[in-house]
């Protein structure tokens, strides 16, 4: 099983990579000892979003499906957590609420995904359908301000947002601050490792094969639609996980977490980081979230301009993604040092597409 950790689908392998991984993990684990409790909580907050980024990376980078509506599942699970946590009562039941809300998001993804994938929707149309779905949900939730919109004692409360749910709790212990941080680290490690194993497994092989050439993959006897649906459901489940965690973190969720500007964010994170690799997405999303927050804190009104410049510069200068670009540079440098004669075959010199039929 452990062999699946390293494979052709993921950058970074071997002793050096895993030593770095363990060093970073160890650093992350002892970080709260030295850091301000606010910063620990803040880091935990960044980590919440990374599941959605990893899910999109799987769908877009590995599966070739660009969903513009990951916030649809984020919202379903986010509201789902709220409704369940309020209805089931606080305490340990919140853990069940978290799990159930992610399951609900995955069921929703199964339905929407079946509808799209079996309908042959692909490319930009895939993006527009998912975007439409998320906008419909946002509009719908926005007008649920009245007291008649409730599920059990949980009021949806329209644009002002749903609140009053407990944070994740075990017994009487609220998982917040440092505890939340450690839970996040553990979840990230689990999800990251699991995704690495998935993409390097035989299922992962089919997922990337479908991205590369769905027809060829089908001609090898794979019902590519099933694999696409699986990818979509997993990716969306991770968006759901982010949503449920987000609600639990702030004990609050509003339709604006589902609307258009929010929907664009995961795409920005993943594109910036490098959609073709999980590690790059993990690192890049964290850096970007941290960077955007820092820019917003210190540059006030110029923040959005700087973010725009950062994005523009990334696509123009590092089209594979910022982190992936740097990562590849490092890897190339290493391999060149180690085996000077064996050039990596990655660079494809200005390939011209054949225009013949």
């Amino acid at each position: 099983m452990l062999k699946l950790l390293d494979g052709p689908q993921t950058l970074g392998r071997g002793r050096i990579f895993w030593s770095c991984f363990l060093a970073v993990l160890a650093g992350a684990l002892i970080y709260p000892v030295f850091a301000d409790s606010y910063d620990v909580g803040n880091f935990a907050y960044f980590l919440i979003w990374i599941f959605m980024a990893l899910g999109l990376c799987l769908m877009w980078g590995y599966g070739g499906m660009l969903s513009f509506g990951q916030t649809f599942f984020f919202g379903i699970a986010g509201y789902g957590y709220g409704v369940l946590a309020i209805n089931m009562g606080g305490g340990t039941a919140t853990i069940a609420a978290l799990v159930l809300s992610v399951v609900i998001a995955m069921i929703a993804a199964g339905i929407l995904g079946y509808f799209m994938i079996w309908g042959g929707i692909s490319g930009i149309f895939f993006g527009i359908v998912t975007l439409s779905a998320t906008l419909v949900l946002a509009f719908f939730l926005g007008q649920t301000a009245g007291p008649e919109w409730h599920i059990g004692p949980a009021r949806l409360n329209g644009f002002n947002g749903m609140k009053g749910m407990d944070p994740l709790t075990v017994g009487d212990f609220d998982i917040e601050g440092s505890a939340l941080y450690y839970v996040m680290i553990a979840l990230i490690v689990i999800v990251y490792i699991a995704l690495r194993m998935l993409v390097n497994s035989s299922v992962g092989n089919v997922i990337v094969a479908t991205r590369e050439n769905p027809q060829r993959a089908e001609m090898l006897g794979y019902d590519v639609r099933k694999y696409q649906l699986l990818t979509f459901v997993i990716g969306s489940g991770l968006a759901g996980l982010s949503g449920a965690l987000y609600t639990s973190w702030g004990q609050f969720i509003t339709p604006s977490s589902i609307g258009l500007p929010a929907a664009a964010m995961p795409i920005v994170w993943v594109a910036f980081s490098g959609r073709n690799d999980l590690t790059a997405t993990l690192v890049g999303s964290f850096l970007l979230l941290f960077g955007f927050q820092t820019i917003t804190v210190y540059s006030q009104q110029a923040a959005l301009v700087l973010m725009g410049v950062l994005l523009l510069a990334t696509v123009m200068l590092a089209p594979q993604g910022f982190v992936l670009g740097i990562g590849k540079l490092v890897v190339d440098w290493w391999s060149r040092r180690r085996r000077r004669d064996e050039g990596p075959a990655l660079a494809d010199a200005g390939r011209l597409q054949s225009d013949e039929t």
Binding site: F125, I128, G308
Partner: protein, 288 residues
Amino acid sequence: MSAELFSVFYQFADVFAFLILSAAGLAIVFGMMGVINMAHGEFIMCGAYVTVGLVNLGVPLPIAQILAALTAGIIGMIVEFLIVRRFYKRPLDSLLATWGLSLIVTQSMLLIVGSAVRGIGTPEGSFAIGGYTFSTYRLVLFGAAVAVLAGLYIIFMKTRFGVVARATMQNAAMAKALGARTGRIYSISFGIGTALAGLCGALYAPTMTLIPTMGATFVVESFVTVVIGGANVLLGTAPAAVFLAIIRMALNASYGQIIGQIGMLFAVILIIRVLPEGLSSVLVRRGR
């Protein structure tokens, strides 16, 4: 009764004009180059601001509107030259690049011009039919939408540029091998697309509040119109606008704006499900 009938037409014309004017520019850029221009709304905003600026300087409104469209077109060509042309082979990256551009433009406008600009008021007057009064300018907008469609029809079907542009759209390499300067065609098409966005802003400027993020109110409608229309601007966008306008108008009138909006998006999802390549895939009889 005729008043009711006219009012139904008026409402339809109003939604139709909004969809056509906001989508035409995006449709050309998407149809010709496969580029999704996320800064489309900002070109609309540019058209609106230039119009208002010029009117405040004493330029008559119609002239200001034409100049505004031209300005947006020229800026569009500059943007094409500096940024977009690098991404013709990477359409998803063009989406990111233009989105970055849109962030920069919106916020820079806020910093430079300020948050709110004083409006210029709607020209023309109003007229009454039955118990209703109507704004004449809304009919001007409808006329403009029809004129834009007619203009596009003439440009793309009747001119030499149009023939070559359509050829480039169908098979760029072959058009190039026949002597078409495809780079220039892309640049001009992008310019036309952004000029139409500018025109949209210019036409709606007198009727709207001007803030730097105003483009956003057009974006969702224009995107869905273009997408369900499919890649062919002339054959796709216009029927898509008719279709969406009817749905939206009917739902708006019967159930209010919120259902109108949700219903329109549902219609989009269903149409794409039935026609995964948009309306124009049915309307164009595909050869080969």
